[in-house]
Symmetry: C2
Subunit: 216 residues, 2 copies
DNA sequence: GTCAAGTGTCGTGTATACAAGATCGATGTT
DNA sequence: AACATCGATCTTGTATACACGACACTTGAC
């Protein structure tokens, strides 16, 4: 539990939303949440205000809070922006790479290889996350790293779906290999291009998924 | 005044911070703010929680809120990210341009020409903002437009300093011309490159400014 | 039978009260 | 004289109380 209840609740509710425990469009009743977590309405409200500011929920005056449903199109837009930011991170990483960052990326890449080889999509999910975070760190831009991490979190639920798609694990790892090569070679533009494609393809795959579900 | 006091206060305090009325590092006392705006502590706290979530202030548990001082390096990082996002917006705008967006950009560009010609840096400041917003809108990506607008706001105080630099007005407008040409020609990659440079140079100029002040 | 208006109930918005921790100063000791 | 410890005061964190608005249900009229 964090130092103050409000912040703890924010994380709790945020996780509940991102893990789809609270579905998009669902109403978040302050008293229900307060009872569930055994606190009063005050810290619950503070948590909700913060989630509203972040954009995870919407508080309509006098009408309560609902979980925002980004909708397929907006999710695609988010992937599009994410692709650009990851591309920048890769480009900077290639230019600014030092031994420490190199080791971190190599280690994360190695773990991805193991979980991809084992076909363990849950394990790969986490190792993949660590791999991308290693690249953010290597960019040596704190602000960029924060922006990427935040978007990564927001897109987590939609990304997770895709690893179950046939062959995506192997394809993803192959793309990682090329990315690592480009970064280690110091080729910033190539790293940018590859990462942009690597992330962008997830947005497109997501679109395909939605389209196939809509026409089903 | 917005529909509820909390949201109104958030905007009010946010503006006060962005216009440097509250300086970086300054302590924000809840009671002082409450008295100043004639409300109780509750909505003040809600506003502060939101500003904390956005990253404008930091609330240290039991020790109060202070305005975050990004520091020159982080501001440079923010310009770097902004350059990338504006580049993406320009690239999308070039590809997706329709008549309405074309008109909006042309009109905003025209106003920039007038204020630049008059050497009116205050007017140019606002016209420039409108010009960039027209490009965000032309990108037809709501999420991207929001991200750009948010960063634009955050960087406002630092951007404003620069228009006073000698010849920056004319240079900026010249860059705008090339950007408009690329977008209207449908050349996404050129628009991306030009916008990236246009925004990126502001980060570099800011760095120069800081450096010159530090060695003064 | 359907639609509209009014009333009641529920939930949010703001204020206030109380509790707990942090800071600063004073006093005592080394 | 300087440092540490204890205490008072001030500020934040949480709870509770009250007020106002929204929504739903009921009742009456057309």
């Amino acid at each position: 539990m964090s130092e103050n209840v409000g912040r703890w609740l924010r994380d709790e509710i945020e996780n509940a939303i991102l893990s789809n425990e609270f579905s998009p469009g669902e109403r978040l009743d302050e008293m229900v949440l307060a009872n569930r977590f055994g606190v009063s309405r005050t810290p619950v409200r503070e948590a909700l205000m913060q989630l509203d500011a972040i954009g995870l929920i919407e508080i309509r005056p006098r009408r309560g809070a609902v979980v925002i449903d980004p909708g397929p199109h907006r999710i695609y837009e988010m992937f599009e922006v994410m692709a650009e930011l990851e591309g920048l991170a890769g480009s900077l990483a290639a230019r600014r790479l030092d031994d420490e960052a190199r080791e971190a990326i190599a280690a994360a890449h190695k773990r991805c290889e193991l979980s991809a080889g084992a076909g363990d999509s849950d394990a790969y999910y986490y190792d993949n996350e660590a791999f991308h975070k290693a690249i953010y760190a290597a960019s040596r831009s704190d602000f960029l790293a924060e922006q990427c991490t935040q978007l990564h979190r927001r897109l987590r639920p939609y990304r997770r779906l895709q690893l179950r798609v046939r062959n995506r694990l192997a394809t993803s790892f192959t793309e990682h290999c090329a990315i690592v090569d480009a970064i280690f070679a110091g080729d910033g533009e190539e790293a940018r291009r590859l990462l942009r494609a690597h992330v962008g393809i997830q947005g497109e795959r997501f679109s395909d998924l939605v389209a196939s579900m809509a026409t089903r």
